[in-house]
């Protein structure tokens, strides 16, 4: 065994240490924050700060877009009905105009979900620290940066100081080796991981994903993995930058060019964890054993393979987990022993920062091609650029011909505050990231799946192994 050298570091530690300004006796470090993303629900932060006489330290490192409250039928601000949703979107726009930070408004072709457009615009780069007042900020870690979700008070703290106090978390490495079966995707991997470590398994840790199955994923697939890291309790889900990462970043609007690119690249190459770096916890997952996965409860950890049945709480020995399972089954109106592929659904949602990028849409379109939906189905691209690319490839025609609705970009039915909402009791196959009670509307029942599985459910009206529908 190699003895760890004292200076060997993990990918996470390398980036963290480079951003430490000062450290308190208690161990908390004041971190420099390179970039902040802002979405509509935080528009009041600006007024609140200014009301206390403070200024925004680095408007140039601030990037904003409205996503949570935008109706997916609206193309511009005035399409939104008068009321809170419109006030929220207008509030962010007003702040951007007043303060002068970059704002991709609804009419901007680059507009979209904050976690989709950050990487798309090259705002997200390897090696930086990036925050957003949104728990799924973990998404950006797929490019090898330190990105994490924060609360409103911390949003203001970063606006005013460009820094944040952080306690260095422990490091966990999740190695996914083996080859993922055909027809499976990153979503199935991350659901399998959460099932394995539990919804709180990553609490207090920064997770690094490694292994051949992760390397084989595209950058978009890696973002799906990092995105749902927060559903395993960890704020950070980071993946070492490699050639794919550099290729992805190269040429994006905010990415460096020329000499600066060379300089940046040289630094990024030094980022991967040292061979002798020590992780407080190591988890190994075999990708070959993963099946298309479906959640059945109100926590993403409650999931099984498509060929499985609803588990029986009676066989769970941990009493608190058993109680959780029981209440989930009542809420979800499911019985133990029911085969997953016998569960009928009422609605399908394809979208969200987990699965709304072009590859996700391609995977769904592959299943939709030449078939018709049998339940109302909503397809919402993650950004204006994803939308136009999908239209260029003719995917929109496939969705529309199948009877699905093709909408404007936004969070939509992932959080259901923009008017796209399930009715009480409705069961939805959703590519989003949370299946909590009421997440998609009061009394809504959410099952999380991959884009291909959502499409398969849409055309069959129940959970169906998407591999059976592949050509």
């Amino acid at each position: 065994m190699n003895t760890p050298r004292s200076h060997s570091k993990t990918l996470f530690e390398k980036i963290f240490d480079r951003h430490v300004i000062v450290t308190r006796e208690s161990g908390d470090a004041l971190l420099f924050i390179d970039r902040q993303l802002i979405h509509d629900l935080h528009y009041r932060a600006f007024e609140e700060l200014q009301a206390t006489g403070r200024t925004i330290r680095y408007p140039d490192q601030l990037f904003a877009t409205p996503d949570h409250s935008v109706p997916t039928t609206a193309k511009k601000l005035t399409d939104i009905p008068q009321g809170e949703m419109r006030d929220t979107v207008a509030g962010l726009q007003g702040a951007a105009e007043r303060i002068g930070f970059t704002h991709f408004d609804m009419t901007d072709p680059r507009h979209g979900i904050v976690h989709v457009i950050g990487p798309e615009q090259g705002i997200t780069l390897p090696g930086l620290t990036l925050v957003c007042g949104d728990s799924h900020t973990s998404t950006h870690g797929a490019l090898g940066c330190l990105s994490f979700g924060i609360g409103s008070t911390e949003v203001k703290h970063v606006l005013a100081t460009q820094t944040l106090w952080q306690r260095k978390p422990r490091n966990m490495r999740i190695t996914v080796d083996g080859t993922l079966g055909p027809g499976l995707s990153a979503k199935d991997i991350i659901l399998a991981i959460i099932r394995h470590i539990g919804a709180a398994g990553g609490t207090g840790y920064a997770i690094e994903y490694a292994g051949s199955a992760i390397r084989q994923l595209s950058i978009e697939g890696r973002m799906t993995i990092s995105n749902m890291t927060i559903e395993a309790g960890a704020r950070f889900g980071i993946i070492a930058p490699d050639d794919k990462t550099l290729e992805y970043v190269y040429g994006r609007p905010h990415a460096p060019t020329g000499e600066k690119w060379e300089e940046a690249m040289a630094y990024w190459r030094t980022l991967p964890s040292d061979d002798t770096a020590v992780f407080a916890k190591e988890i190994n997952i075999n990708a070959a054993a993963i099946e298309p996965t479906v959640t059945w409860g109100n926590s993403p950890q409650f999931c099984v393979g498509i060929s499985d049945v609803i588990p029986d709480p009676a066989s769970e020995t941990d009493l608190a987990t058993r109680a959780n399972m029981e209440s989930a089954l009542t809420y979800m109106d499911l019985l133990p022993g029911t085969p997953i592929n016998k569960i009928e659904i009422d609605r399908v949602f394809i979208g969200s920062c987990t699965n709304s990028r072009i590859e996700d849409l391609r995977q769904a379109a592959e299943v939709f091609k030449g078939r018709c939906v049998v339940v109302p189905t909503l397809v919402v691209p993650g950004s204006g650029l994803v939308k136009s690319e999908a239209e260029r490839e003719g995917l929109d025609r496939i969705f529309i011909d199948a009877g699905a609705q093709w909408r404007e970009p936004g969070c939509s039915m992932c959080v259901a505050i923009n008017g796209d909402v399930l009715l009480p009791g409705q069961r939805c196959a959703s590519t989003s990231n949370r299946n909590f009670q009421g997440r998609q509307g009061m009394g809504s029942r959410t099952h999380l799946v991959s884009p291909a599985m959502a499409a398969a459910a849409a055309v069959t009206g129940r959970f169906t192994d998407s591999r059976q529908l592949s050509r």
């Binding site: 308190r24 090696g127 100081t161 609490t203 959780n324 505050i417 009670q437």
Partner: protein, 215 residues
């Protein structure tokens, strides 16, 4: 921020793990312009039988008699007791505001979600981690004793049960200092203004590509 004082209050037991922030305050309230008054919407979907909307009058909404918060004996609770992974899910600080506005000053659980845990300290709410066996005992004791109160002494880092039993808890020193004094984070950070400026200057040298837009 209001300074944290010793709390002696009724304990509201919610015997669940993974209580998520969507449950603590449903998303329709995130659009609300107000930053206060969320107490009436704490656990909205569990607490009421109808669907709530911001700005609605709450006094005449149908109450869910099966939700523990609605039991008379827990009126005015200042301490909330739950199980593991409390506050998981969305980063919404509204969850903390709703708890505070309702009157909760301390939450006791066997573990907390990281973002929620941080948000608590920014708003004078004390999240306390106790071992699972102690939590079991507390749940049991409350069941048998209407009006069960706990005293939470932050200074000595102890909780004291009605029969005088003490359970000590850990809290990071600086967080305790801020809670006890009700300090604002931004002011404290700006004490390091010079360090920040110096760091910025050298950071720009080391990672110039991050500042392409800044001349």
């Amino acid at each position: 921020m209001e300074a944290f004082k010793t709390v002696k209050g009724v304990v509201l037991p919610i015997d669940r793990s993974n209580i998520d922030t969507d449950a603590i305050i449903p998303k329709q309230y995130l659009k609300s312009v107000a930053r206060s008054g969320f107490g009436a919407n704490l656990f909205d979907e569990w607490r009421y039988l109808d669907h709530g909307e911001p700005g609605q009058e709450h006094s005449n909404r149908p109450i869910n008699p099966n939700f523990v918060l609605n039991e008379k004996r827990y009126t005015g609770a200042e301490v909330l007791l739950a199980r593991s992974n409390f506050g998981c899910g969305s980063s919404r600080e509204h969850a903390v505001w709703a708890l505070r506005d309702y009157g909760v000053k301390v939450i006791i659980a066997s573990s907390f979600a990281d973002i929620f845990f941080n948000n608590c300290f920014k708003n004078g709410l004390l999240p306390l981690v106790l071992p699972e066996d102690v939590i079991d005992v507390l749940f049991d004791s409350i069941k048998d004793e209407p009006g069960y109160m706990l005293e939470v002494d932050l200074e000595s880092q102890n909780i004291i049960t009605p029969d005088g039993t003490q359970h000590s808890f850990d809290i990071e020193r600086f967080r305790k200092y801020c809670l006890v004094n009700g300090f604002d984070d931004i002011d404290l950070t700006l004490q390091h203004k010079k360090d920040i400026s110096e760091f910025e200057a050298s950071h720009k040298q080391r990672m110039p590509w991050l500042f392409e837009d800044i001349s």
